[in-house]
Amino acid sequence: MTFEQLLDMLRDMHPDIDFLTAEGLIDGHILTSFDVVSIVAELSETYGVELGAVDIVPENFNSARALFALIERIEEE
C-alpha cells in the first residue's frame, strides 16, 4: 500500500480533513473510535493490512504519516 492510497482512503472517509498536514487526529478528538474502527476495517478489506488491537494507540492514528509508518512496519513483518 502506498501513502497516496492511504490518503485517498482517508479522504473518502473524511473529505473535511486535510490528512496531509493534520496532526493530533486522536488527541484532538478529530477522529472518533468509530472512525478508527472503520479505518481498520477498510485497511483489512481493501488492502489486506491486518491491524491488531495492540496497534490501536493514539500515537499510530494521530496523523496519516504515523498510520502509514505503522502499516509499513506491519507489512515488513
Partner: protein, 520 residues
C-alpha cells in the same frame, strides 16, 4: 476509612514521615505497607479478595511474559531454518496456550467480581427462595479492571511483566486509587510509583492544594446537595414531578461532578504528596459538544479501559471483520453493513452499565448511552447536510454554547436511570417533564430541599468557581498556569482549608466519608 476521615489523615501523615526518612529504594515498600494497612482497615475481610487478584494476575502475567520471551527466542533462532508456515504454526500453538492461561485468570477474577457484585441481584431477579448478603470489597471493580488491563497488556507484549511481586502488589493496591479510581495503566503509573521521589516542599504544596480543592468540591457542593436530592429521588419521588425533576436532574449533575471529580482530585493530590502521578480522570466534561465526546472527557480511565480492552479488540477481531466484509458485500456501505459495529457498541455500553452496579437501571443506563451515540452516528449525514447549507454556523460561539447545553441536558436525562428506582419510576419522572408545569411552585418551595439562603449561596458560588476554573485552565493545569509560585501555593492551600472548615457541610445528615463512586 476514606479520604475525609481522621484515620486517613493520620495514615497519610505517618506514611509521609516514614517515606521521606527511608532511603529511596525502600520507599515503595512504605507505600505498599500503607496500602495494605488502608485496605485492611477499610473493611473486615476485604484483604483476602485483593490478595487473590494480586497473586493470580502476578503469576499469570509472569507465565505469559516467559512464554512470549521463549517464543521470541525460538523465532530468532529458527528464522532461517524453518519455513514461514512452520513459524506461524508455532506462534499459533504458543498463542493458544497463552489464551488458555489468560482465560483462566480472567475467569477467576471476573468470577470473583461477578459473584460478589451480582449474585444477590440475580437471585432476586430469578425470584430464588433464598438471598445472600455479601459485602462488596471496597474498589473491587476498580482494582480488578486495573489488574486485568495490566494482564492484557503483558499478553499483547506491550511491556514485560513486573518481576518483583511486592512492586506488582503495590501497583494493584496503591491506596489513593482504591476508593474510586482512577484505573491506572502499569506503564505510566510505574514511572513514578517505585522510584521514591525526593522531598520537594513545593510539590507537597501542589498536592495539598489539589486535595483541598477536591475536599471543597465535596464538602461545599456534593454533601450540601445530597440530603435534598435524596428527598427528590427517594420514597416520596411521586410528589416531586415536572419542574422538580428538571431541578433534580441539574442538581444531581452538579453533585455527581463535585463528588466524583472532588474524590479524584483528592486521590491525585495524595499521590502527588508521595511524588506519584496518577492518571487524570476528567477533562472539563460538561463542556463537551456531544455525548461521544463527553465520554472521552468524563471518567476517562474507565472509558479508555472499555475502549482499549473491549471495544477495539471486538471490532478488529477476525470474525467481526469477516462479518462486516460479508455485510458490505451484500448491502453496500449502508446501515446494515454497520450491524457488527452497532452490536459491539451496545455490548460495550451494556458492560459499562453493569460495571457500575447490579440492577436493571444500570444496564438500561449503559444501553441508553450506547443508543444515543449510535443514533448520532446514524444521523451524521443529516447533520453534515444541515451544516453544508449553513457553513458559518458551526464556528459561531452561540452554536457552540447550544451544543454544550444540549449535551448537558441530554446526559442529565440519561442519568434519570441513576436517580429513580426502576423503569416505571424513570418513565413517570421523564414524562412529567412534558406534562407537569409547576415551575412557580418549585421556585416557592425550594426550602423543602433543606438548604437555607446562605447554603444556596455557598453551593452556587462554589459551582461558579468550578466553572470558572474549568474555563480558565484550558487544556493545561490550573495550578501550573495560575498558582505557580510557592507563596501562591501556600496561600491557596490556606484559603481552601478555611473554605472547607468554615463553609463545608458537617453534622447530622451529612456523610463526608461516602463517595457515590465508592459503592462501585
Amino acid at each position: 476509612m476514606t479520604f475525609l476521615s481522621g484515620g486517613f489523615l493520620l495514615l497519610v501523615l505517618g506514611l509521609l514521615t516514614v517515606y521521606y526518612i527511608l532511603p529511596r529504594r525502600f520507599r515503595y515498600l512504605v507505600l505498599l505497607a500503607g496500602s495494605l494497612a488502608f485496605y485492611a482497615l477499610a473493611g473486615k475481610g476485604y484483604l483476602p479478595f485483593l490478595l487473590v487478584t494480586v497473586v493470580t494476575v502476578y503469576g499469570t502475567a509472569r507465565l505469559l511474559g516467559r512464554s512470549l520471551q521463549r517464543q521470541k527466542a525460538y523465532v530468532a533462532e529458527h528464522k532461517k531454518d524453518l519455513s514461514r508456515e512452520a513459524l506461524t504454526a508455532y506462534k499459533k500453538a504458543q498463542g493458544r496456550k497463552r489464551n488458555i492461561l489468560f482465560l483462566l485468570c480472567l475467569l477467576v477474577n471476573l468470577g470473583l467480581l461477578g459473584a460478589l457484585k451480582y449474585t444477590a441481584f440475580l437471585l432476586s431477579a430469578l425470584r430464588a427462595p433464598f438471598q445472600v448478603h455479601w459485602v462488596l470489597p471496597l474498589g473491587i471493580s476498580f482494582y480488578t479492571f486495573q489488574s486485568l488491563g495490566y494482564l492484557m497488556d503483558v499478553k499483547r507484549g506491550k511491556y514485560p511483566p513486573e518481576d518483583n511481586f511486592l512492586k506488582y502488589a503495590l501497583f494493584a493496591s496503591f491506596f489513593p486509587q482504591m476508593i474510586q479510581g482512577p484505573i491506572s495503566r502499569y506503564d505510566s503509573l510505574s514511572e513514578t510509583l517505585y522510584g521514591g521521589a525526593n522531598f520537594d516542599f513545593d510539590r507537597l504544596g501542589r498536592g495539598l492544594v489539589r486535595i483541598l480543592w477536591g475536599a471543597a468540591k465535596k464538602l461545599l457542593v456534593a454533601d450540601r446537595l445530597a440530603p435534598g436530592l435524596a428527598l427528590l429521588f427517594g420514597a416520596e419521588a411521586d410528589s416531586f414531578r415536572g419542574g422538580w425533576v428538571l431541578l433534580g436532574m441539574v442538581l444531581y449533575a452538579l453533585r455527581l461532578y463535585a463528588d466524583f471529580t472532588g474524590g479524584i482530585d483528592m486521590a491525585l493530590g495524595v499521590g502527588e504528596l508521595f511524588g506519584v502521578t496518577l492518571a487524570e480522570n476528567f477533562d472539563r466534561p460538561y463542556l463537551s459538544k456531544n455525548i461521544e465526546e463527553y465520554w472521552t472527557r468524563w471518567h476517562m480511565t474507565m472509558g479508555s479501559w472499555f475502549r482499549d480492552y473491549l471495544f477495539y479488540p471486538l471490532n478488529v477481531s477476525k470474525p467481526f471483520l469477516r462479518w462486516t466484509k460479508a455485510l458490505r458485500g451484500r448491502f453496500g456501505n449502508g446501515f446494515l453493513s454497520r450491524l457488527p459495529l452497532y452490536g459491539a457498541t451496545l455490548l460495550v455500553w451494556l458492560a459499562t452499565g453493569v460495571w457500575h452496579g447490579a440492577g436493571w437501571n444500570y444496564a438500561l443506563w449503559g444501553l441508553t448511552n450506547g443508543l444515543v451515540i449510535l443514533l448520532s452516528l446514524t444521523l451524521k449525514p443529516l447533520y453534515e447536510g444541515f451544516h453544508s447549507r449553513f457553513p458559518g454556523l458551526k464556528a459561531t460561539g452561540g452554536y457552540g454554547a447550544f451544543e454544550t447545553i444540549r449535551t448537558f441536558l441530554l446526559l442529565c436525562l440519561i442519568r434519570l436511570w441513576d436517580c429513580y428506582a426502576g423503569p416505571r419510576g424513570v418513565w413517570r419522572a421523564f414524562s412529567s417533564l412534558f406534562t407537569t408545569f409547576n415551575y412557580g411552585a418549585v421556585a416557592r418551595g425550594l426550602s423543602v430541599l433543606g438548604l437555607s439562603g446562605g447554603a444556596w449561596a455557598i453551593v452556587l458560588s462554589m459551582a461558579a468557581l468550578m466553572l470558572l476554573v474549568s474555563l480558565l485552565k484550558g487544556e493545561g493545569s490550573f495550578r501550573t498556569r495560575f498558582i505557580n509560585t510557592p507563596w501562591k501555593l501556600w496561600l491557596a492551600a490556606l484559603a481552601l482549608l478555611l473554605l472547607c472548615l468554615l463553609l463545608g457541610a458537617y453534622g447530622p445528615g451529612y456523610t463526608a466519608s461516602d463517595f457515590i463512586y465508592g459503592q462501585f
